[in-house]
């Protein structure tokens, strides 16, 4: 029985989400490092990135808190419910959301946390990519 029907769609969705989140975090990194022009980003990119990240984190923290029926992708689940307590992540992500709402620059450790999340999403995506297109 083929898994192609499900996996081909899943791959596309994972890539779209990863692209949005990755570029959003990259834009805020660029802002923090004063590299907006070097990365050829629009000045308005940071504002759009804040909105995109805020929406993503709202969904993520709701899922972490068990408030939705959504299931975290495996790699994200490993990151957010692993060694570091789930409650710590909920608290940290909440602080990031508040900073985003206020248009504040994120602290280095906050950007590092978001980058960890991007890495986890990327591992999930790369795993699905390999499942479909990896060498046998």
């Amino acid at each position: 029985m083929s898994v192609l029907g499900y996996v081909s769609g899943q791959l596309q969705r994972e890539q779209q989400q990863l692209d949005v989140i990755n570029r959003a975090v990259l834009a805020l990194q660029a802002e923090a490092l004063g590299m907006v022009e070097a990365l050829r980003l629009d000045r308005s990119a940071a504002a759009a990135s804040r909105r995109q990240l805020h929406a993503f984190l709202t969904q993520l923290t709701a899922t972490l808190a068990g408030g939705t029926a959504e299931v975290l992708p495996g790699t994200l689940s490993e990151l957010l419910t692993g060694q570091r307590a789930r409650e710590d992540w909920i608290e940290d992500l909440g602080a990031i959301q508040r900073a985003l709402e206020l248009g504040q620059r994120l602290e280095p450790q906050q950007l590092a946390a978001l980058t960890e999340i991007v890495r986890a999403l990327d591992r999930e995506f790369a795993g699905t990519l390999h499942r479909l297109y990896g060498r046998r």
Partner: protein, 387 residues
């Protein structure tokens, strides 16, 4: 290094796609999409070059998602779509016509084009749900057997289209059906010790977690195929389930147990169809087969009849909401002696159900009948595909 490799790959893909002259005539929307993909890929490659060129340690991790996106695009164009478009012959065009007939009956009004590959088991590539690739075995161009499997595969395109345009209403409906079922089950526990309650709740949570998005998708696709094809899909699936080779209660990583899927198909049939002698014969044969295997305790909890029936109802509601032009097959089955002597029903699904009656009741007549029925089905496909 990877950027250089990808640059070379993109160059090759540009040339290969540009040389698809015939495909450009027959599948212009697909070619447009692939050219858009390659254009996006070049933009991603430029971003990657820039990031790598800057080389700041805080920014380098962001290169990997871009690299993987480029791998997806080059694989999708070069490994999936390009070979499919390069191998479009008369047989592929014929089956494409059959798929377009099926899509019309299923109400997929948003479908723009379909590419068919006749080199593998039934499957669908639905990254672009309005431009899917449908896979079928080579014999599909010369036989109606197992054709209902393609209706199931169109279901994956429906789910993906629903996810991209409506946030996945069908998925949400199926997920909430599972959640509600197990919440209610947990609530119904009578008096018991805390330890027993905790153990029960743990088993219920495990049963709920069994229903991954992938497994729910398969149930939906089975329901859609049965709605549109009627008993023809029921036979096709029961036949597949008999050939499964493992316990009907065993689950694959991404599929529910076939026993659960057979029940879903059966419960989807209209009541008159459920009472058709052909369907009753199939059901009796399947029940005998099931009784030869043990259903383990986990199966009864995860795949109870009440949950499967609830998932069927949720799937039907999802179909009503998202495919308003889906045509439910409700014609009574013909008597075997009428088939071949009367005017054909005029729909592909009518032919598929005639084939079902013959395969179950007078299989020795099937080959001759199919030889006569196929040209009539091909005329239906000419109307559907405009070829």
């Amino acid at each position: 290094m990877k950027a250089a490799e990808l640059r070379a790959t993109l160059g090759w893909l540009d040339t290969a796609v540009a040389s698809l002259h015939e495909a450009a005539l027959r599948h212009p929307a697909v070619l447009d999409r692939l050219e858009t993909d390659l254009h996006r890929a070049r933009a991603h490659l430029s971003d990657l070059d820039n990031l790598v060129g800057i080389g700041h340690p805080a920014l380098v991790p962001h290169a990997f998602p871009i690299l993987h996106t480029l791998e997806l695009i080059t694989n999708r164009v070069g490994v999936t779509y390009l070979p499919a478009l390069q191998h479009q012959g008369p047989a592929e065009r014929l089956v494409r016509g059959l798929v377009l007939c099926a899509a019309r009956a299923a109400g997929l009004t948003w479908l723009v084009d379909v590419v068919v590959r006749l080199d593998g088991p039934h499957a669908a590539y639905v990254a672009y749900p309005e431009l899917p690739i449908l896979y079928a075995p080579p014999r599909q161009a010369s036989s109606l057997v197992d054709l209902p499997g393609l209706y199931h595969e169109l279901g994956h395109a429906v789910l993906e289209y629903d996810r991209t345009t409506s946030g996945g209403r069908i998925g949400v409906l199926l997920r909430s059906t599972v959640t509600q079922h197990f919440v209610e089950l947990a609530r119904r526990a009578g008096p018991m010790t805390p330890e027993r309650r905790a153990a029960r709740e743990s088993r219920i949570a495990e049963a709920a977690a069994f229903w991954t998005e992938a497994r729910l998708a398969e149930i939906f696709c089975d329901v859609l195929a049965t709605v549109v094809c009627g008993p023809a899909h029921y036979l096709s699936f029961v036949d597949l389930a008999f050939r499964y080779g493992r316990s009907p209660f065993a689950a694959l990583a991404s599929h529910p147990p076939v026993a659960a899927r057979v029940r879903a198909c059966e419960q989807t049939l209209t009541l008159p169809h459920q009472r058709e002698p052909v369907v009753e014969r199939l059901r009796a044969a399947w029940t005998t087969h099931e009784r030869q295997h043990q259903a383990f305790h986990g199966y009864d909890l995860a795949c109870s009849k009440s949950l499967i029936d609830a998932l069927v109802r949720a799937s039907l509601a999802g179909i009503s909401a998202t495919l308003p032009e889906c045509h439910r097959y409700a014609q009574p089955l013909a008597h075997a002696e009428e088939i071949g002597t009367r005017t054909a029903s005029g729909t592909l699904e009518g032919f598929l159900n005639d084939s079902t009656v013959l395969l179950v009741e007078v299989p020795e007549r099937y080959a001759d009948w199919e030889r006569g029925a196929l040209p009539q089905c091909h005329r239906l496909t000419e109307m559907a595909s405009g070829d």
